[in-house]
Amino acid sequence: MSGRQRAVLLALAVVVVVVAFVVIRSTGGDDDETSGAATVEVRDAKPVGGVKDLRWKKGQTIDLTVRSDTADEVHFHGYDVHKDVAAGGSVRFRMPATITGRFIVELEEHEEELANVEVTP
């Protein structure tokens, strides 16, 4: 390989780094919004308005209430908390967000996904 070719390739590499840096700076951080206290409404064993995406940051408190017209068990995966809900009743999950990842909150017996919880670092 000639010295010129080599110089061109290395220059390309520098260009990539600069572009990446600019792109990263301009897009800023990821979405920092979190869900605070959230409620999922269950009608006919289905979440009203579809599966909710909820987010909390590690160290915050997860606060999720499930109101259901169907009696079942609500399972918060990963944190592995199970709570029974009566027909027309509600259950509240209030716990510190200690584990990062994506977790599913499920109406256990109906195998119905209610919410998709993200805990970010």
Partner: protein, 474 residues
């Protein structure tokens, strides 16, 4: 009565239609990975490009890995081989027994976690560091060797029937098909986690291997047609440890890959390996399984044609799986066709085989990136499962109460491992392809030009891998 039945069927159908299909690729997993954040995605992609350009500009001008020497480090006693074989058969028997006799809840039974996590994901990780550790434990091979030893004893050294010659054209095609079928069961089949079905399939697989070995000889069959032996053995070529002829040899990392004899089916096997893992990544994301995801769309179409919701979902996932394998194969063939235009124009099939070993590190990088967290988290479940393999409340080793610590590695740790694996896999793939190009092309200039194409292929694979981990797909 009729109306009630109709109502029941309708409810069942409605339920099946909304099964959390991709809620998790396995019913085994309680936690999924967070998509890698945008900044990390951008940095990783930039590093990949920079590394590639710098590599092109500075890589060595004479092949280095092609003829690397091995040196013997130690001998292995024959008794150790026998012991490994016995342990392998015992482990196989335990998993099958648990699957058939134990509780049929996937997370309570040893079989699903042992097969999908320890066997399928754990062994490739081990192999990278320790060499082909599966070979000595390979249960069906051990059974076959035991049987042939007993035969020789019983007939006092009588000649066993001569095996048939393994057809050259068949090559690694049976292995490619085997891995594709396994991936289909893991990713598309509705009862993928059913312990007794898994155990039955394991028995059927072992039986097929025994028949194959009986017909074509133990070693020829294992070397070419045993899907798992081939799968693990490909990864072991990256390892600095090489076990052969009852001895351990040391070699530079990656040096085993250029020695790969790329018989027919080898390209297919690697494309299947990369394509199926890609689909696993895709099928966990909302792009595929979300409310408006592709899978739902496809499923609805097949329901409209008259399939049951369950079958329609299986068909949708089968299509996705095959499409990803086709995409990966297409990408590789694109690079190969590009290379054909360089220098004297070698035939495409020949080139595809000559360069296919450079896909091994990419395949392993995909495995690490996609399954590291599965191994780290679900692997811990083995703690309680070995004490209670049947899920019936026994406590053989006093560890039945062990739980999974999801904080063993945090989201940041997982992200860095994923991105690191893809970038290192990319560099290793480039290195191997570059080294091979120097022997394929007589003029260094042609070697260099051919590698623009391989570079494009590798960048394609690595970016696909990164994209599958990113928020865009997840």
């Amino acid at each position: 009565m009729k109306r009630r039945l109709a109502y029941g069927v309708a409810t069942a159908l409605a339920l099946a239609a909304v099964l959390p299909a991709g809620a998790a690729a396995h019913g085994l997993v309680g936690k999924q990975d967070l998509p890698i954040p945008r900044w990390l995605f951008a940095w990783a992609a930039a590093v990949v490009l920079v590394v590639s350009f710098v590599a092109l500009a500075t890589l060595w001008p004479r092949p280095r890995l092609e003829n690397a020497r091995e040196r013997r480090a130690l001998r292995v006693a024959a008794a150790l081989e026998v012991l490994c074989g016995v342990l392998g058969v015992a482990a196989f028997a335990a998993v099958v027994w648990a699957g058939l006799a134990g509780a049929q809840t996937p997370t309570d039974n040893l079989a699903p976690t042992a097969i999908y996590v320890v066997f399928w994901v754990g062994i490739p990780f081990l192999t990278l560091f320790l060499g082909d550790v599966f070979a000595p434990f390979n249960p069906w091979r051990a059974i076959a060797r035991g049987a042939s030893w007993v035969f020789a004893r019983a007939t006092r050294g009588g000649e066993p029937p001569k095996p048939l010659a393994y057809p050259e054209w068949l090559g690694r095609w049976p292995a490619a098909l085997g891995i594709l079928l396994f991936a289909w069961v893991e990713l598309a089949y509705v009862d993928r986690d059913d312990p007794s079905q898994l155990a039955t399939m394991a028995l059927v697989y072992a039986a097929i291997q025994l028949v194959g070995m009986a017909l074509y000889g133990i070693e020829p069959w294992t070397r070419r047609a045993d899907a798992f032996a081939n799968y693990f053995s490909l990864f072991s070529r990256l390892s600095p440890l090489h076990w052969r002829d009852r001895a351990l040899y040391l070699r530079p990392p990656l040096a085993g890959a250029p020695r790969l004899n790329a018989v027919p089916g080898t390209v297919a096997l690697l494309c299947v390996m990369i394509g199926t893992v890609s689909f696993d990544g895709l099928s966990q994301g909302s792009l595929w399984t979300g409310t408006d995801g592709i899978a739902r769309e496809l499923q609805q179409r097949f329901i409209n044609v008259g399939f049951s919701a369950e079958t329609a979902l299986e068909i949708a996932f089968t299509i996705g799986l095959l499409c990803m394998v086709a995409l990966v194969s297409g990408l590789y063939w694109l690079g190969v066709s590009g290379m054909r235009s360089v220098g004297r124009g070698h035939p495409a099939v020949w080139l595809a085989r000559r360069f296919v070993h450079s896909l091994i590190p990419i395949a392993l990088a995909y495995v690490v990136a996609h399954y590291f967290s599965l191994l780290i988290y679900q692997g811990q479940a083995m703690g309680s499962l070995i004490s209670d393999p049947l899920g019936e409340g026994s406590d053989l080793f006093g560890t039945a109460g062990a739980t999974i610590d999801y904080n063993l590695v945090g989201a940041n740790g997982i992200w860095y491992v994923q991105v690191f694996a893809l970038v290192v896999g990319h560099i290793c793939g480039l290195t191997l392809a570059h080294d091979r190009a120097l022997t394929v092309y007589e003029r260094p200039r042609d070697a260099m030009r051919s590698q623009y194409w391989m570079l494009a292929v590798m960048v394609g694979f690595t970016c696909l891998g990164l994209w599958l981990l990113s928020a865009a797909a997840q």
